[in-house]
């Protein structure tokens, strides 16, 4: 299956390959967090809250007429928010089936896989799981 997600992952990996050290990498993540489109306050509600132990993540999803899923997300921690922005960039506005079946490798490639670890308790891992569940639900026509 030719996924719409993989080229986006490749693009993110390429973008991060430019950075020489971790400082630049984190500065970029922080700026991505700052640039993330603000979430509609109506969506930033407890029902959409993914509770991490330390940072909180909100996630909302909608499906358009073409069957593409659009994500909106936010976090109270800026580094988490930057990573959330990357997830949204990789997965949003894609066919539901592509999201459900996505094999997310880009965090590994850019050396940030540890942020997906459950021990980080930042809500990111739960967010990715929730994004895929939305993909699955919308694939099933939900």
């Amino acid at each position: 299956m030719a996924s719409t997600i993989d080229p986006r992952q490749a693009e993110i990996a390429e973008e991060f390959a430019m950075f020489g050290d971790w400082m630049e990498k984190y500065e970029h993540i922080i700026s991505l967090g700052r640039e993330l489109a603000p979430m509609d306050p109506a969506d930033k509600v407890d029902d959409n809250l993914i509770k991490g132990c330390q940072s909180r993540v909100w996630l909302a999803a909608k499906r358009d007429d073409r069957g593409h899923v659009h994500f909106a997300a936010d976090s109270d921690a800026i580094i988490t928010k930057g990573l959330v922005a990357l997830m949204v960039r990789a997965l949003s506005d894609a066919p539901a089936a592509d999201i459900a079946g996505a094999n997310l490798t880009f965090l590994d490639e850019i050396g940030l896989h540890s942020h997906l670890s459950p021990t980080r308790s930042n809500g990111l891992q739960a967010m990715v799981k929730q994004m895929k569940l939305y993909g699955l639900a919308f694939t099933a026509g939900g």
Partner: protein
């Protein structure tokens, strides 16, 4: 800056192999001793020597190894007794840790003494491990829990404590040192007041025994518990001290081998004497022995020197971190031990912790297992730097500089 003419922090550091490693290509600066302290070579050697030379099950064997292992384990119990100033080793129970010690008291003393219409007193600054065991029991037994709130500086509200004592609590359970704020509570004074009101007193010593000389007879506490891994010893081992008369009257909790007198299907089972009545099953023998070695090590350094050194570090951290824009200390009690907790305006603790980690600096961020405290303070958590015998003033400088650098990136 030196802490005293006799305290050679570099000689102490050299005894901790882990402190020579790097993290993210930078020398490790470990400021998470309140979560768990690192281990000196003497402790590592004691555990390794036991496992490679002495190991056998204890108490039951007639062979040489069984006797040597028993002597080493019971010798460690005596070291703990001496360290805490308890009257007898009958009062020193090996448990899994502080959490285990508190659960033991809740499930034995608590189950026997607390019921409908009774109340107990806890404080706002308790670790979850000194809250949840009581909540679980309260749900089952129907007693009330009253909470002593905090003053703005992170000390406990004495007036409210007195008010709660007037309710006639059966138990007052509180921490000696707050893991989130560093506040040192006046255990002796509170214990005397609680006793005057007829209450039994349990003190959580998880954050005090690593930093301060503790004498249970002088404090006159009824129960005192601490964890081995925070006192430079292994995980999975800890101590519950209890006054002999109280322990004697308490029913056993966990049943099994070792805790019995005789076992019979026909005539019923009788229980062993103290302290074995509460030590069912094969214990963490190597852990107990290494805990004894850890206390030896701390006494070799000298508790007074250790306390003084950490006081210098805490003061220095407050002074240096105060230079960072937007710094807000959480917990500014006049008497603090081992912990500096803070927030920076506009910076999430998680972000700060992540960047400090990249700089090789290990701090803890989050609620520190004190959610009721964080909720009351209206904050999601803090960044906590905690100190041990091996931290240096130079490391504290590195921490302050790293915090300033990270905060600038994040704002």
């Amino acid at each position: 800056m030196t802490t005293s003419s006799t305290y050679d922090v570099h000689a102490i550091r050299a005894q901790f192999p882990i402190l020579s490693r790097e993290v993210h290509g930078k020398p490790l600066a470990y400021f998470d001793s309140a979560a768990s302290a690192q281990k000196p070579q003497a402790v590592i050697d004691a555990q390794a020597r036991y496992l490679s030379h002495t190991h056998s099950n204890i108490h039951r064997g007639v062979h040489a190894l069984a006797q040597e292992a028993t002597e080493a384990y019971e010798g460690a119990r005596e070291k703990v007794r001496a360290h805490l100033g308890a009257t007898s080793t009958r009062e020193i129970l090996f448990v899994g840790g502080t959490t285990d010690g508190i659960n033991l008291v809740a499930q034995t003393w608590g189950r026997t003494n607390l019921g409908t219409g009774d109340c107990i007193v806890l404080t706002r600054m308790e670790h979850h491990s000194n809250i949840v065991p009581w909540q679980m029991l309260a749900q089952e037994r129907g007693f009330d829990i009253h909470v002593v709130e905090l003053n703005p500086d992170g000390t406990l509200d004495d007036d409210q404590f007195v008010q709660h004592l007037n309710r006639g609590p059966k138990l007052v359970a509180f921490t000696h040192v707050s893991n989130a704020l560093g506040t040192v509570n006046d255990v002796k004074r509170w214990t005397a007041a609680a006793h005057d009101a007829g209450a039994t007193v349990l003190v959580d010593g998880a954050q005090s025994v690593p930093h301060l000389a503790v004498n249970v007879q002088e404090l006159d506490v009824d129960f005192y518990t601490f964890s081995g891994h925070k006192t430079y010893g292994p995980t999975g081992i800890g101590i519950l001290y209890g006054k002999e008369a109280l322990l004697d009257a308490m029913p056993p909790w966990r049943g099994g081998g070792e805790m019995i007198g005789t076992v019979s299907f026909e005539n019923g089972t009788t229980y062993n004497e103290l302290p074995y009545k509460f030590e069912a099953g094969t214990p963490h023998i190597s852990g107990g022995i290494a805990l004894g070695a850890a206390l030896d090590w701390m006494n070799g350094v000298g508790m007074a020197s250790l306390t003084a050194h950490e006081h210098v570090l805490t003061q220095h951290a407050h002074a240096r971190l105060a230079e960072v824009d937007g710094m807000r200390f959480i917990g500014t009690a006049p008497c603090k031990a081992g912990v500096v907790s803070f927030l920076i305006d506009g910076v999430h603790p998680y972000d700060l912790g992540t960047l400090l980690d990249q700089l090789g600096i290990a701090v803890r961020t989050g609620h520190h297992c004190t959610e009721p405290l964080m909720d009351k303070l209206g904050i999601p958590g803090t960044v906590r730097a905690s100190f041990g015998a091996y931290n240096t003033v130079e490391e504290v400088d590195r921490l302050a500089e790293a915090v300033a650098r990270a905060a600038a990136m994040l704002r």
